[in-house]
């Protein structure tokens, strides 16, 4: 369970938000809403521990995330704005290297199944450089399947995806939430998934 109390973030001279508080239990998901520049990405980066909030505390199972360090990160998956895949490597290499960096052994069959699920059949051995923006995004999203994380933090996961991929990702998120997972995401679209909370910045 993730709980946030009295959180405030400052970017440069500007206070983005303050006094932010919410709880997220297993089987719930949170939609972070706000205009461009409202601080959605800043909030998400603070939640995963990439940046430090100005004030307030973020706790995971009642312990501050700073103290948990690797124990928190093991249960977490953050997908940001960046491609976060290596252009020179193939989708298959990207997935299996990412998994073994987490100390997990990913066999090829599992990795291929994840890539096929995201419609990358026939592109497994092609360097990511040759893929389109949407396909690169799909390579990154395949990590949702291969990494067994409890908490997904997704920053604009629907950008560059076509209609079919958007539907598939929504279904994947709904499946994760109904299976007791947690999802925090930013999106400008309405999300047709049950059990949702919303935070407006």
């Amino acid at each position: 369970m993730l709980s946030v109390a009295n959180l405030s973030c400052v970017r440069g001279e500007r206070r983005l938000f303050s006094g932010l508080a919410f709880d997220l239990a297993a089987g719930e998901w949170l939609h972070v809403q706000g205009e461009n520049g409202a601080g959605k990405t800043t909030l998400l980066r603070a939640l995963v521990g990439l940046s430090h909030p100005d004030q307030g505390e973020i706790r995971w199972h009642n312990q501050p995330i700073g103290e948990l360090a690797e124990d928190y990160r093991r249960e977490l998956l953050y997908l940001g704005h960046h491609g976060a895949v290596k252009e020179e490597l193939t989708p298959l290499e990207n997935l299996s290297l990412a998994a073994s960096l987490d100390g997990r052994r990913l066999d090829d069959r599992e990795a291929l199944a994840a890539l096929h699920r995201f419609g990358l059949k026939g592109r497994e051995e092609l360097p990511v450089r040759f893929l389109s923006a949407g396909q690169k995004r799909r390579v990154l999203l395949a990590r949702l399947v291969t990494r067994n994380a409890v908490l997904w933090v997704l920053d604009e996961p629907f950008t560059a995806l076509d209609v079919k991929a958007v539907d598939m990702l929504s279904a994947l998120i709904a499946e994760h939430v109904s299976g007791g997972g947690m999802v925090i995401l930013t999106s400008h679209q309405a999300m047709p998934i049950a059990g949702g909370k919303a935070v407006k910045l």
């Binding site: 940001g80 960096l101 987490d102």
Partner: protein, 221 residues
């Protein structure tokens, strides 16, 4: 430990896919070292005297060339962010990246140095001392350089700043590394130089990954 080896494997794989970057630094080393005998002329005594310094300075500059890409490409495509969020300790992953940097930029210099040393009329034993000194010294360059690369990450014009920051820190490695070969050529004991170089290396192995990790966290914030 497996994460450490995975990072090495990953960076070696990336280096193999981008061979030109690795080869540029190597050719730079070969050309700079070869220009000196051509410029100074065929005077064996003089060449023998300048050889250690020339080889070491060229090695410093060549290893500088690949430094700013050590973290910059991972930073630009967001994979560095993912590394810091992986379930393995970041210090271990950083140590792996530094090791991979040495394997791709330091080790080739060590292997090439004896061949290039022949141009300076260095004897067999002097070449062996040169290789030993470089073997201890080039990892030190990667370790110190990594701190600088992490500190200048995301800074505009970081390349020049990186040289200004790192080259002064390379001075001890240069003095003891070149000093060992000079001492041997002059017929003096050289073991002391190598011991000091090894001591510096051990010190850097303990502190550099830690300092680099701290600098990376600041850069990513």
């Amino acid at each position: 430990m497996s994460a450490f080896l995975t990072v090495i494997r990953r960076d070696l794989l990336l280096a193999m896919r981008r061979k030109n970057e690795m080869l540029t630094a190597l050719f730079f080393f070969v050309i700079v070292v070869s220009l000196f005998p051509l410029g100074i002329g065929p005077e064996p005594q003089l060449l023998k005297k300048v050889a250690p310094g020339v080889l070491w300075v060229a090695a410093l500059l060549a290893s500088m060339l690949s430094l700013n890409r050590l973290f910059a490409t991972d930073y630009a495509d967001g994979t560095l962010e993912q590394l810091t969020l992986s379930a393995s300790p970041l210090g271990l992953l950083v140590a792996g990246k530094i090791a991979a940097h040495w394997l791709t930029s330091g080790l080739p210099l060590v292997l090439l140095a004896p061949v290039l040393g022949l141009q300076f009329d260095l004897g067999g034993e002097a070449l062996a001392v040169l290789v030993a000194a470089l073997l201890l010294g080039t990892p030190l360059l990667s370790l110190i350089g990594a701190i600088g690369a992490a500190l200048t990450l995301g800074v505009r014009g970081g390349g020049v700043l990186l040289s200004l920051l790192v080259l002064p820190l390379y001075i001890p490695a240069l003095i003891f590394g070149a000093g060992a070969v000079e001492a041997h050529v002059a017929g003096l004991a050289f073991a002391g130089h190598l011991s000091l170089l090894a001591a510096l290396l051990v010190l850097a192995m303990f502190f550099a990954p830690w300092a680099t990790t701290a600098a990376l966290r600041i850069a990513l914030e």
